[in-house]
């Protein structure tokens, strides 16, 4: 049977078609990830808290909102480089940014944060003011900051917050708490002390006092506006970048973990890693298994006995405890996992290939070739190998899922390669930090589904290929 007709037959069968199309999709997605993500994604981004600081922590995906009775607030990030308006006051130019947004949720934002970067000034430091304009027409200043002045031995122009931007979590900032306190006293004649306000700044800023209890607040929906003003002292002074984050109760396609990491990105990066583990481990163990099997079956004699006894032994080693042990001693690394999986993954195939070769050795074609004087190596690899290739191919695909599952299990025990995020590791963090006991399903379910989907794709493909390469299965069932 030639390749084209085998392929046609594969695509005609149910599992074959499903497996092949899923595999195509997975490979396209993996290719996209390899192009779009840096290769050191694990170290440079995933394990780098700075990247995720402006994300809400442990919130579900955004698409869960329509399924809820009370929608959670969306995550909003406002960024500006060029100021929206430039005015000139007596003290100097005033740059301002205005970020209007509709707030319709009955929950307050999870946090408010502001970031300033690349501040340039010639002599005197600029002043930054942030105000919140509410739907009820009231406006309050929530933040005020004077950029750090020149040091004694420093000469202008001065550059501030260039390497490490200034980030302030307004929800817990003392000045903002005081601002909220004053706001309540002036506008609603409600006097609360700092302890009553602490931790609830967002609720107060995005709500109105409600009912009899002093500290009850009803959410206030409507049009809000964040106004950021920088009072500069000279022409040419500038604030390079402003960023204001209204923390959401939902985030992105897959939600975030307790460090605010975007799970969608972690899950995406896990795909090429899983495929890599599956394919490499399967390729290597199949190569070893096949060549030993052919050698054993074709050479016979002592070599055969030695190889068979050895593969019997290796086949019966309990792999998981040994994997745990070796990874613990040698240190977790992806390559180590693959090497150990390969080292114990070949014997099954060796035993099967040997018995196939034993049958083949006595057939007339091989005998004729031998009598023509072909070398043993030539017989083994030019005449025997091609005949068993289709079968080996099916076994290769069968071997991939077990490698993927093994890596996931090891990662789940905390033995995953720390520099490369995998699905098993995402699950492990969710489990170890207690995410499952508080019901963070978006952190637990998708990585497992990804593992199952990938393993299943290989399984389907193998199931589709098997009847084609194994003629015995092609007879209709009696």
């Amino acid at each position: 049977m030639n390749m084209a007709s085998a392929l046609r037959e594969l695509l005609r069968s149910g599992p074959g078609f499903g497996g092949a199309s899923l595999m195509g999709l997975l490979f396209v997605a993996a290719l996209y990830v390899l192009l779009a993500f840096p290769l050191d994604f694990g170290e440079s981004q995933w394990s780098n808290p700075v990247i995720w600081v402006d994300n809400p922590k442990a919130v579900p995906p955004a698409w869960t909102n329509p399924l809820r009775q009370d929608a959670r607030p969306l995550h909003r990030v406002f960024e500006g480089a060029e100021p929206h308006t430039v005015q000139t006051a007596r003290s100097g130019p005033v740059h301002s940014w205005r970020f209007p947004f509709t707030y319709a949720s009955s929950h307050p934002p999870t946090f408010l944060a502001v970031t300033l970067a690349d501040v340039n000034y010639a002599e005197r430091p600029p002043l930054v003011l942030i105000s919140l304009k509410r739907p009820d027409g009231k406006q309050l200043r929530i933040y005020r900051h004077t950029v750090r002045g020149p040091r004694e031995d420093e000469n202008g122009p001065f550059l501030r917050y260039a390497e490490t931007p200034l980030r302030v979590q307004l929800s817990t900032d003392e000045a903002t708490v005081t601002a909220a306190q004053n706001f309540l006293a002036e506008e609603f004649d409600l006097r609360l002390d700092g302890a009553q306000i602490g931790g609830r700044v967002d609720r107060i800023l995005f709500g109105v006092p409600a009912g009899s209890a002093d500290d009850a607040f009803a959410p206030l929906a409507g049009e809000y506006e964040i106004i950021i003003q920088t009072a500069l002292r000279e022409e040419g002074d500038s604030v390079g970048k402003v960023r204001f984050v209204v923390g959401g109760g939902v985030f992105g396609l897959m939600g975030t973990d307790s460090l605010g990491r975007d799970l969608a990105r972690g899950l995406l990066f896990g795909l090429p890693v899983a495929l890599f583990i599956g394919v490499i481990a399967a390729l290597m163990s199949t190569a070893i298994g096949t060549s030993l099997g052919i050698t054993s079956g074709y050479l016979g004699g002592r070599a055969d006995i030695a190889i068979q006894r050895f593969s019997d032994i290796v086949a019966n080693v309990p792999v998981l405890p040994l994997l745990i042990f070796m990874l613990f001693i040698i240190g977790p690394s992806l390559w180590m996992i693959i090497v150990i999986l390969v080292a114990f993954g070949w014997p099954g195939l060796t035993i099967q290939v040997r018995s196939m070769v034993l049958h083949m050795r006595t057939n007339q074609l091989i005998e004729a070739i031998q009598s023509l004087g072909a070398s043993r190596r030539r017989v083994m690899f030019r005449h025997i190998l091609p005949q068993i290739t289709p079968y080996v191919l099916a076994q290769l695909i069968f071997a991939a899922p077990s490698a993927i599952l093994a890596e996931a299990g090891l990662s789940f025990l905390g033995l995953g390669d720390p520099s490369i995020p995998t699905w098993g590791q995402i699950l492990e963090t969710g489990f170890r930090t207690g995410g499952i006991y508080v019901g963070y399903w978006w952190w637990i379910v998708p990585p497992g589904l990804c593992i199952v989907l990938t393993a299943l794709t290989f399984m389907l493909l193998a199931l589709g290929i098997e009847p084609i390469v194994n003629p015995r299965l092609r007879q209709p069932a009696s």
Binding site: V319, P321, L322, F328, G414, I436, V445, L456
Partner: protein
């Protein structure tokens, strides 16, 4: 004598397995310098303890250093650090063979002992409880449904079970466990999410037993859920293969009633491979349970691995656990191989 030879070959293979693992343990510990590091850490700890004791009597710092240095050399000889690992470790391995497993650093047994042997042995029954229970359930479902499916070959149910068995191989058991916790104990609050007993555990025997059952339910369901599909499928296939053999055709041709053919001529012949197949499953699930126990905080050997790995790793426990796991696996397998040889007459002629 035809029984003895295959039995011997198989037992020797398992002994070979055991020594290969032991060799790997020794080589890994020695070549990586891990064993040396652990020993010098132990000596360092002991010296620190002795320094505080000596400070009472020796005032002079130089004198102190001298005494400690001498003591260090003594300790290095005592612990064998002064001899290279390839002399020391095989001896340690032999000591371990007599189940002298050393002491744990931080982990303790339930009654406070720090001997690794005590810690491990009190965990073994817990692991076995979980494994045998789920194996019995899986086997019962497998035999009943498998024998039934063999008579319905090619039906939609048959095809569904084959598909289900294939899917089972693609699903990580421990993830199913996590899902069940998420649904049944966090969302619906029907079953406890982990542990073996409630806190505080009931003191009366009967409530205590039911408490244990309630806690065992989720892990057992998890193990059964993932393994019953493949179990049904393999029993169905074994039964089918035998149903196609000549002696069955003859039995039918003789006009025996179908029920009799099935019981006496198919199931009876299929019994040995089914039974041994299921028991091989037991040996196999020994390591599969490591992860399930971890998920459910089941105080078996698997969870012990996790506890020994988490936080500050307890090296002695990890080494001893790997050893005990392999030992148990090998012993179970030798018993099974013997059973297999006795149960299945065909082995005597084919090996």
């Amino acid at each position: 004598m035809s029984l003895l030879r295959p039995l011997l070959v198989r037992s020797l293979t398992m002994v070979g397995v055991f020594f290969v693992v032991l060799l790997l343990l020794v080589l890994t510990l020695g070549l990586t310098g891990f064993s040396d590091r652990i020993l010098s850490a132990t000596i360092g700890e002991q010296l620190r303890a002795e320094r505080t004791a000596l400070a009472e009597t020796i005032r002079d710092p130089d004198e102190m250093e001298k005494v400690l240095e001498k003591r260090r050399e003594e300790l290095e000889i005592f612990y064998g650090l002064s001899t290279p690992w390839y002399y020391r470790l095989p001896r340690t391995a032999l000591r371990v063979l007599t189940l002298d497993l050393g002491e744990a650093r931080t982990l303790r047994s339930f009654d406070g002992s720090n001997r690794v042997f005590d810690i491990v042995t009190e965990r073994v029954p817990n692991s076995m409880l979980l494994l045998t229970t789920s194996l019995i359930i899986t086997a019962t479902i497998g035999i009943i449904a498998g024998a039934y499916l063999a008579t319905r070959q090619g039906s939609w149910l048959d095809r569904f079970v084959s598909g289900f068995a294939a899917v089972s191989f693609a699903v990580p058991t421990w993830w199913i466990g996590i899902l069940l916790i998420l649904i049944l104990s966090i969302q619906l609050r029907i079953l406890p999410s982990g542990g073996m007993y409630s806190t505080p555990p009931p003191t009366q025997p009967l409530p205590r037993f039911f408490d244990l059952v309630a806690h065992a339910l989720l892990p057992v369901i998890t193990l059964v859920l993932v393994s019953f599909g493949p179990s049904i499928y393999s029993i169905r296939t074994i039964t089918l293969n035998i149903a196609q053999e000549d002696h069955v055709k003859i039995a039918r041709a003789k006009g025996l009633p179908e029920s009799r053919v099935r019981l006496r001529h198919i199931l009876r012949v299929a019994a040995p491979p089914i039974v041994t197949g299921l028991m091989f499953g037991l040996a196999g699930s020994l390591s599969g349970s490591i992860l399930v126990e971890t998920v459910f905080n089941w105080q078996g050997m698997g969870r012990l691995y996790y506890d020994a790995l988490a936080g500050t790793p307890d090296e002695n426990v990890i080494v001893a656990l790997t050893f005990i796991f392999t030992l148990m696996y090998v012993v179970i397998r030798i018993v099974l191989e013997a059973l297999y040889v006795f149960l299945d007459p065909r082995v005597r002629y084919t090996d």
